[in-house]
């Protein structure tokens, strides 16, 4: 794990430890409060014992209790004692509430740490894939050099070699960008800059850009789009949406043809991407768009369904649009994005 991530985790973990300390302290206090019977007070739960109590009580519930537990040289009887007991009971209840609040905060913090942990683990896993390919390349070249096999570096082989390296580097850059996007979304800081765009032309560019990747996946991308489909969108972000959907289709498409249909339907532009691959189980169909949260199990089954669709979903929402999926295991998936031709005047928040 990255040093920075470890640092973050340490900070959060320290926060939780502090909360735990409070909570335990709170429970102790509550227990002590319960044991206080009138008799005990009269016979003097005073002196060291009580001072200790006061000290322990000081932190979260300073006001009422401290007053209630001041040592009394002459313990008042009757009405005064009743009043004191009432104060104690009220303080006790306040403690219980505080304890519950602390428990709630603790659960939230633990959840946040778990999410960050999962996120870091996922990002580093994803980064290791292109890194692995690059590292294997360099090790291979090193072996060629050490064996004097310089024909591997012949001029005609170099362009392909450079292209392979660049593809891995692009993959890593994209992953890092995705990671930063997700971080921005969490802070609610991802914004779009809508400009007039021809979606049909953009789709053609994206499909062309993925030609090599499609070849490697053994799939062909068929694009059906009108000559022109103009609207007002953030071109860079919509390109990201199209790329994510097509990349997923190639990744999970089982080497079968992938189809993208771009069309206008009234005031909406629709992009549908269909593959004929492994499909998505009904119970996962909602989860894949939601805030990034992966189980160990899902990691083992498939790489990648972590960032891309989450980001895609957010970008589409920011444009006032919708994304959905129709799928069944083994029968491929069809992702449909509906984008209003112009984003709403007041942009929805990315949360």
């Amino acid at each position: 794990m990255h040093a920075a991530a470890r640092q973050l985790l340490r900070i959060e973990a320290a926060g939780i430890a502090a909360d735990q300390h409070h909570r335990q302290g709170g429970a102790q206090r509550a227990g002590v409060g319960r044991q206080l019977q009138p008799g005990h007070v009269r016979h003097g739960l005073v002196g060291d014992q009580q001072v200790g109590l006061v000290r322990r009580l000081r932190q979260p519930v300073r006001s009422g209790l401290r007053l209630a537990l001041q040592p009394h040289a002459q313990a008042p009887a009757g009405k005064a004692l009743d009043q004191e007991m009432e104060k104690l009971a009220a303080a006790h209840q306040k403690q219980e509430e505080l304890v519950e609040q602390l428990r709630h905060t603790q659960r939230k913090l633990e959840h946040a740490v778990r999410m960050r942990d999962d996120f870091m683990s996922m990002v580093s896993h994803e980064l290791r894939t292109p890194l692995n390919t690059l590292y294997l390349e360099t090790q291979l070249r090193q072996l060629h050099v050490s064996k004097g096999r310089l024909e591997s570096f012949a001029a005609e082989r170099l362009p392909a070699m450079i292209e392979r390296d660049q593809r891995q580097i692009r993959n890593m850059v994209r992953l890092i960008d995705d990671m930063l996007d997700v971080t921005r979304m969490r802070r609610d800081a991802l914004s779009i800059q809508p400009q007039p765009v021809d979606l049909a032309a953009l789709a053609r560019t994206v499909v062309e850009g993925l030609r090599h990747q499609a070849e490697a996946a053994g799939s062909e991308i068929a694009l059906e789009a009108p000559g022109e489909l103009r609207g007002v969108w953030d071109e860079f972000r919509i390109e990201q949406v199209l790329t994510n959907l097509l990349t997923n289709a190639l990744r999970y498409g089982g080497g079968k043809p992938v189809e993208m249909v771009v069309q206008q339907m009234g005031g909406t532009a629709q992009v549908a991407v269909r593959d004929q691959g492994i499909g998505i189980a009904p119970e996962d169909q909602e989860r894949i768009f939601k805030q990034f949260e992966r189980t160990k199990d899902s990691r083992k089954h498939a790489a990648g369904l972590g960032l891309g669709l989450y980001i895609t979903h957010k970008i589409v929402s920011l444009h006032g649009g919708q994304i959905g999926v129709e799928s069944a295991p083994g029968e491929g998936s069809r992702f449909v994005v509906d984008l209003p031709l112009e984003p709403p005047a007041i942009l929805p928040s990315s949360t």
Partner: protein
């Protein structure tokens, strides 16, 4: 040694094949779990390098089926490859499913050493 490779990252699988060739081994590349199982059933292998994340089903399942198979010539030495560490993936190696776990990026000398040990 004859080594079966299964990794859905085609570039990485092909590179491993070439590297193992330089180490004096022979290797066959497969890119899906099913392809790996079909190839293992048809040919004889000494070892298998199995990526844990495959498109059709998990690498652990490939290992489980290879171990359970009674067909002759199934690979005896199973090495897991993953972007996750062995601890992160729940320690399949410790369960005895795999003999070794290599976290990406793969160090070819380390892999060569594991294969040489047999």
């Amino acid at each position: 040694m004859n080594v079966l490779i299964v990794d859905d990252n085609k570039a990485a699988a092909d590179l491993l094949q070439e590297l193992l060739g330089l180490f004096g081994h022979t290797a066959r590349c497969t890119y899906t779990a099913q392809q790996a199982l079909d190839t293992a059933a048809a040919e004889s292998f000494d070892a298998a390098l199995i990526d844990l994340t495959l498109p059709d089903f998990p690498g652990t399942e490939v290992a489980r089926r290879l171990r359970a198979s009674t067909t002759q010539g199934m690979p005896k030495l199973l090495i897991a490859i993953s972007g996750f560490s062995a601890e992160d993936t729940g320690g399949e190696a410790a369960e005895g499913l795999f003999d070794h776990h290599l976290q990406k990026p793969i160090d070819i000398d380390r892999l060569g050493g594991l294969l040489a040990q047999g």
